[in-house]
Symmetry: D2
Subunit: 274 residues, 4 copies
């Protein structure tokens, strides 16, 4: 059994303190939370920012502040969202990557209806610009796949040189508008991957643990955190992101080994930053 | 072996006379072509209109004119597009349904990147309006599924009462931005269908015949026509839509029976119109 | 998350004290081991006997002795093998069921090459006799499926009334001659199950944990024990069957709840014995 | 679309003149039938012999006589059964291969229950002997796969050098005791094939045409003939093997090209014999 990377997604764009009071929102809260998750065993932090009212924000300054606070204290691999605000411009979705040059950033490889209410737009022109910007700045895409078309799009962009191989994928299952969170679907997507790809998976909400167990069974990496799932178990809120990370560490240790940030950098073939 | 419905899609929104001179563009050309396809064995006609310059158009008058010419001569089941122009408004995408009340109309159950160049938008608000308009006007949706999320969306709308069961699906495989045209993928989608659904499939371009053969093997219905595929075989343009229909009739007759328009109405549970 | 049944298979027909000194072989050793596993959280015990030389045996007396020792001390559900010796007769494969009337007994629903060396024979005549004997004695079959043909055979026998529905299946993956132990294969088999069936799974050897995690992800029950896998982790022998059970309890408790023997009887619809 | 090999299986071990009077049984009948099928478009003939009472037979003399009559008249590729009589010895199952050295012979890569009545035994020892005999005599195995374990066995024997790569597989779907004849199952098996393998498929009985269409959709080769299916369509017996071959030629020609015997030798990498 190879080492398994735990990515923590502590904040996301949507959940509020009403959903779970443990969600970190300010740069300081997020940095403290990430540090605690790193202590618990997370190797990668997938970060979203919020504005003063708690709404998803692509504010570059907040990313810089938060990353600065994290880098002071630990070597966790940074994975910054590029989709933190459905109303952001193409430019504000990328500006923080140029400024910070994180190891990883999310790359949502297509467009979809979102939660039966609105659109999650990732226009082909944006995807080309984002890919080239990431190559120029040494940022590796974490290709988020909500449905199979996104995986096929990514394969197309790899062939076009817009994304460099070996690519890294995050299967995000269970978002209304995308593919449901079933083990069948996870197997289906995994079988479509390019040969050298690495991959991780997450199930949103109640499917969180089944997808986590299935990903481990199939040799994948995993993502946990309040962005995806505010509950620890049915009817019981998670006390913190670190609580979710700690459980994941225990689950992985029964079957294999938890990757350190240094392991994760080697597995993902991204250079050390710290 | 049950009876198989052949839908012909003679025009579409994209191919031009340069791609294949046999593509019918004017109401008169389309009506003549559909009549010829009906004689050849097509039971359903999926219609797009073009404007005077040959661009995809949702012009209600053209739909009315074309349908009038077709109904004078044959009982083919009418299936009108609601996605004939990427720049159309929600209203012009539906107005012809209210005016004509065809048996079927396409219902593209989600949004996607289109051909790595633009967006194919079907906003949740539009999908709700379209579904309710179709119910009010006695039009059955042919739910077009380019990727699995669209199938999951449709299941959601069925539960919401926005689409009536039993639903009818068209799997459109091989559009860049959606799911690739493989037998594996067709099997995968078919296994996600609601219990009482009927379904048809098509592969775009070179995958046309493999998907057609696989759909027949799996008990599905099929769609052919210059909208999806301008070639008859590698390097040889189709002479007409009817040539494609005639081949499909031969292929079906070796394994089963071709549905008449009356058979199709019974299978799809839509009332007779003629 | 429903409750998960842990079946322990402490002995099997093959492994010896050389493979792992912790394997229980005599009635007393097996009974003590099963008691320890019951304390650790196992709800079902799948039992094989060995003769004085440690070879697999269908000796009825040994089954009676062992079961007697177990029943004195705990309410674990009994699942007796019917395939404990490749050279046994049809009669000796069934005699202990008549004598003991355990809740469950294995039902290997077909014939296969075994380990590229010999045959594992379950002749259709035997399968009919075994099924009828089990019905007459109130023993529920645990249908062991090493390959898809065995599942199809079982469906046939259910239709024939040779096996009563709802049936219970054990997917045994990774035996050379049968289906390999992959998550793809487990998903494939699960999708072929009859509607009301319950199921469990195990992977032989190194695939033990991946199949266990996948089964939990898919809502299945699990089997562990030295019969299937003598190692705790790569290069480290299991100290005991109870060690394997305890690990499984921990893994289940992170995602759900461990079934008690009473829970197992309710889930499997077998009557209480104690 | 590559060229498709049609294998005809005119006789088999089971059907009688009562099932279909067109079944050829004597060497002369079989040779005449094969010649007619070759004229119709078959590239490979899979041959079984019958004794004077019409029972399946491995009589070497009959194989020699039949093959002699065929080779006088046409260059069809010869594929001789090694499983023509469930009571044959290992020796009589192979003796004709040594005498005739056909291009191909069937290799049933495992053991299974047969039709819920008896066993179809292919003991590991036999499979090793058969493989080595085939290599020594320049006979290429057509690996018959009735269930996934047989495919896994074949992969094992390829690794052991008992079967030479690139291997050729025949998926035999729908035999009671093996895998059912569904497109899902065909896709499943195809996805387990070694990288360079070639493959063909057949569905027994009513599933004949669906599996044929699905195999063509997936780029496989096909087998037809009264051995597998005595009906032309529901309730109508086939008039001859050649009638089945002719239909298959028509079906293939709508999607691709029928392989000649010379094409088949090139595709299967067997040397020319005539």
């Amino acid at each position: 059994m190879a080492k398994t990377i735990i990515t923590v997604a502590p904040t996301g764009a949507w959940p509020s303190k009403k959903d779970n009071p443990a969600i970190p929102l300010t740069p300081r809260e997020i940095a403290d939370d990430v540090y605690e998750c790193w202590q618990a065993g997370a190797a990668v932090a997938h970060l979203h920012m919020r504005d003063a009212e708690g709404r998803g924000s692509m504010d570059k300054g907040r990313f810089i502040e938060t990353v600065g606070l994290i880098r002071e204290r630990c070597d966790i691999v940074l994975n910054l969202t590029t989709s933190g605000d459905l109303n952001a411009t193409d430019e504000t979705r990328m500006a923080h990557l140029v400024a910070i040059k994180p190891e990883l950033a999310s790359y949502d490889a297509g467009t979809m209806n979102w939660m039966h209410k609105t659109l999650f737009v990732n226009h082909p022109e944006f995807l080309e610009k984002l890919g080239r910007t990431m190559i120029e700045n040494g940022v590796k895409p974490e290709i988020e796949v909500f449905d199979s078309g996104m995986l096929y799009n990514a394969i197309y962009y790899i062939k076009q040189g817009v994304i460099k191989a070996p690519a890294h994928f995050q299967f995000v299952l269970g978002a209304p508008g995308g593919m449901a969170a079933t083990v069948d679907n996870l197997v289906f997507l995994k079988n479509l991957l390019p040969a050298e790809a690495t991959w991780s998976a997450l199930g949103i909400g109640a499917s969180h643990l089944p997808i986590l167990y299935a990903a481990l069974a199939m040799g994948g990496h995993v993502r946990v955190g309040l962005e995806d799932n505010v509950f620890y178990s049915k009817g019981r809120l998670a006390k913190s992101n670190a609580e979710l990370v700690s459980r994941t560490v225990r689950i992985i240790q029964e079957i294999g080994e938890v990757a350190t940030p240094a392991d994760a950098r080697a597995i993902l073939k991204v250079p050390a930053r710290v």
